[in-house]
Amino acid sequence: MRIFNRAHFPWFLFVVLTTIAAGWIYVGNFYPSHLPPGLVLPRALVQETSEHRSIGGTPVGLVFGVVSFAIFIFGALLSLRKRVVLWPIGTVQRWLRAHIWLTLLTIPLVLLHSGFRLGGPMTTLLMVLYTVVMVSGLYGLFLQHRMPIIMKERLPSETVYEQIPHIRSQLFLAAERMYNSFKSAKLSPASSTESSAAIIDPESEAALVTFLEDQVMPYLHARRGGRFGLGDSSYSEDTFRFVKLRVAETYRDRVEQIQAWCDERRMLDLQTRLHHWLHAWLFVHVPFSYLLLILTGWHAFVTLFYY
């Protein structure tokens, strides 16, 4: 999801204003002398007691903590929202925008809740988990922002990711069919001679069979095409140019067809790679988010009832 567009501006404004307000309340409550005279906190926003040992334990600190925890829960609900697409509770796009900006808002809130201290082992663990979740999320956000540009440049026709194995096998089957056609023609030269004596060029066919057998079919059949020569576009270009020179004119359209399969395969590989980049961070972000959610709940429970 790209975040530099008009739909995100209200969220950006909301986060900035809320951060300023939270900072003002924080300074006004805990360091009132740092505020200039014109910005003194109204009485209603000053917490009832100034007694505090850790800022997180004060009413204001608790509010920061609870709001952050609520945002964590909301953030975790995004995956549920994605599963149940037809729920009439806002589009997934809106949820994602809220997910991004509200979780960004937790950065100041968590810092203010903690009073800029790591605290003991439990809170340090929570901060580490939070950092992992936020860094992975920001990385994912960067990828979501950057990937569409890369895909537009390098991936003109996108395929549904889940269809890639199917299409890959289709490409291989097509190559295999062509290969079989050449092989069968070779095994029954009489019939082929009868049908199209002027077109058939055994040398060209032999060259194509060899090419298909040695390079194209292994490449199209492989799970990962990157380690094959044809997986490299410039190598592929050169190879096909060379193959075209080796076959008769009548076989060149076949060569171009094979080249189209290889190009498509290469695009599928690229798309797979980009897809992995685009989604691999979720293997860190999602599980750590759940872990953070559970441990934050535990932290809240223990600190509220064990004091």
Partner: protein
């Protein structure tokens, strides 16, 4: 690269045969689900295993100070875990705990109770928290912040004091509350029984001026604000003792340190005594011819008895001088008495001069040699009152040991400062001068500008003393505590 331009028909043809892909299990998603599930399971397992046999210190917000290091393995010695253990967390308790904390923050009552219980068991004392007029006592844990590291317990921050003392509403409420109790009910800082403490009466509104820090708005010391008089009845002139004509003592010029000696800790100074500090110059030699013969000090009856038995005193002196024969002793005594009678007409006159004349032997003109260690008469230093048919009465001097009992001071930490910079003794001519510095002297160094620490607890103690020290005497409004004990 060839750019494939495919029609929708071509694309749909490609997907043909695999249109039910969304219902199939996707490895990528399955892996993510399994890892997420694993993370949740780990989280839940952590919580459960911790509750069964976890180390409580995991939740500690930091190491305990060395003062409480012995409690490091027993969180329950301070913290109340009753809501977490057993089945005591009812819905009502849950709601109350949450509501309280969102209104007042995390409560420290349970911890404070444990502090008091433990400290009572160890020190056999309870902590009277603050003065009677305190609007709301601070929690132990708020000022004495724990879990800040393994060093000594963190100093009480001045901001804790300022949270009330810089709050006009709180101070006003405190002033109102403080007008009710009688002065004698106020607890004061305890002092050793033999110590004389000068304490001015409590101001009508108490000590409720608002200020933000010692260097910014702290009221002038009460002793300077409401100038008191030194209650001492001794006649003493500091300036005179710094004069150029004062002879050297033990080869040194007389200075502050000759009379004012620090106590064993160096915090304060020992009391000046006649025998140790004055007698070397002001010996009670009444007869210049016999400097060995000195009047007793400290008891007028003894002096009177001494004067009325002068022949015997001279006889004793003659023996000390090695005269053994009775005739020689008698001659010596007679000779001394004749010499004495040349100066005074009668024994009564001599007694009057000794007690009531400030300077009976003052040299007459420059021709007469000045005799050092000459007795000037009791009245030089003392206020001597005649008593019919008895020895005169001399009021015992009152040497105040502590002038500012609301604060503590350490002279040892101020040795780099000259005495006179703060006390201005060289300018004091009268005994009644109180030679205590004002706040300006202190702020010179104890401020951000002076770069010397100026926390509230540098001078003050928050806790009121555990027992009441009764004021025993009133002199012109001020109180001298424990004066009777010194008598």
């Amino acid at each position: 690269m060839i750019t494939p331009r495919r029609t929708q028909k071509q694309i749909s043809n490609k997907y043909q045969g695999n249109l039910g892909y969304y219902s199939k299990t996707q490895l990528w998603r399955l892996a993510r689900f399994l890892i997420s599930f694993f993370a949740i399971a780990v989280g839940v397992a952590l919580v459960i295993s911790y509750r069964k046999r976890g180390d409580e210190r995991f939740f500690s917000s930091g190491p305990l100070s060395r003062n409480h290091a012995a409690l490091a393995n027993n969180c329950a010695s301070c913290h109340d875990n009753s809501l977490l253990t057993g089945h005591q967390l009812t819905q009502a308790k849950f709601q109350k705990a949450v509501s309280d904390q969102f209104h007042h923050g995390i409560a420290f009552d349970a911890i404070d109770n444990n502090c008091e219980t433990c400290h009572f068991a160890r020190n056999k004392r309870t902590y009277a928290f603050h003065e009677l007029n305190v609007v709301k006592n601070r929690s132990c844990s708020v000022c004495h912040q724990e879990h800040q590291g393994p060093g000594p317990l963190k100093w009480v921050a001045s901001s804790q004091c300022a949270s009330c003392h810089n709050n006009p509403q709180t101070m006003e409420a405190s002033a109102q509350k403080g007008m009710q109790p009688h002065w004698d009910n106020w607890q004061r800082h305890p002092h050793p029984a033999q110590q004389i403490v000068f304490e001015l009466p409590r101001p009508a509104r108490g000590y409720t001026e608002t200020f933000s820090s010692f260097w910014d708005g702290h009221p002038e010391f009460q002793l300077k604000r409401e100038p008191g008089r030194d209650p001492d009845v001794l006649r003493f002139n500091h300036t005179r003792h710094f004069a150029a004509d004062i002879p050297f003592v033990s080869g040194q010029k007389l200075d502050c340190n000759y009379c004012h000696k620090p106590d064993s800790e160096g915090r304060y100074y020992q009391r000046v005594t006649f025998a140790v500090n004055c007698q070397v110059c002001h010996s009670l030699q009444f007869d210049p011819k016999n400097p060995e013969l000195v009047l007793p000090h400290g008891n007028t009856t003894a002096v009177r008895g001494f004067l009325r038995t002068l022949p015997t005193q001279y006889a004793d002196l003659s023996v000390k001088k090695g005269i053994t024969r009775p005739n020689e002793i008698k001659n010596f005594v007679t000779q001394q008495m004749i010499q004495l009678r040349e100066r005074v007409r009668s024994g009564e006159e001599f007694e009057r001069q000794v007690f009531f004349v400030a300077d009976p032997y003052k040299p007459k003109g420059e021709t007469e040699p000045r005799v050092r260690a000459l007795f000037y008469g009791c009245a030089l230093c003392h206020d001597v009152q005649p008593v019919a048919n008895a020895a005169p009465f001399i009021a015992k001097p009152t040497f105040v040991d502590r002038w500012m009992p609301q604060s503590s001071f350490d002279h040892a930490k101020h040795t780099m400062v000259k005495c006179d910079e703060c006390h201005h003794a060289t300018r004091s001519r009268d005994t009644s001068d109180v030679l205590m510095p004002g706040i300006a002297s202190c702020v010179t160094c104890h401020s951000p500008k002076g770069k010397v620490v100026a926390e509230c607890i540098t001078c003050h103690v928050y806790h009121a003393p555990p027992t009441l020290t009764v004021a025993t005497k009133s002199l012109g409004g001020e109180m001298l505590i424990n004066k009777t004990a010194n008598r």
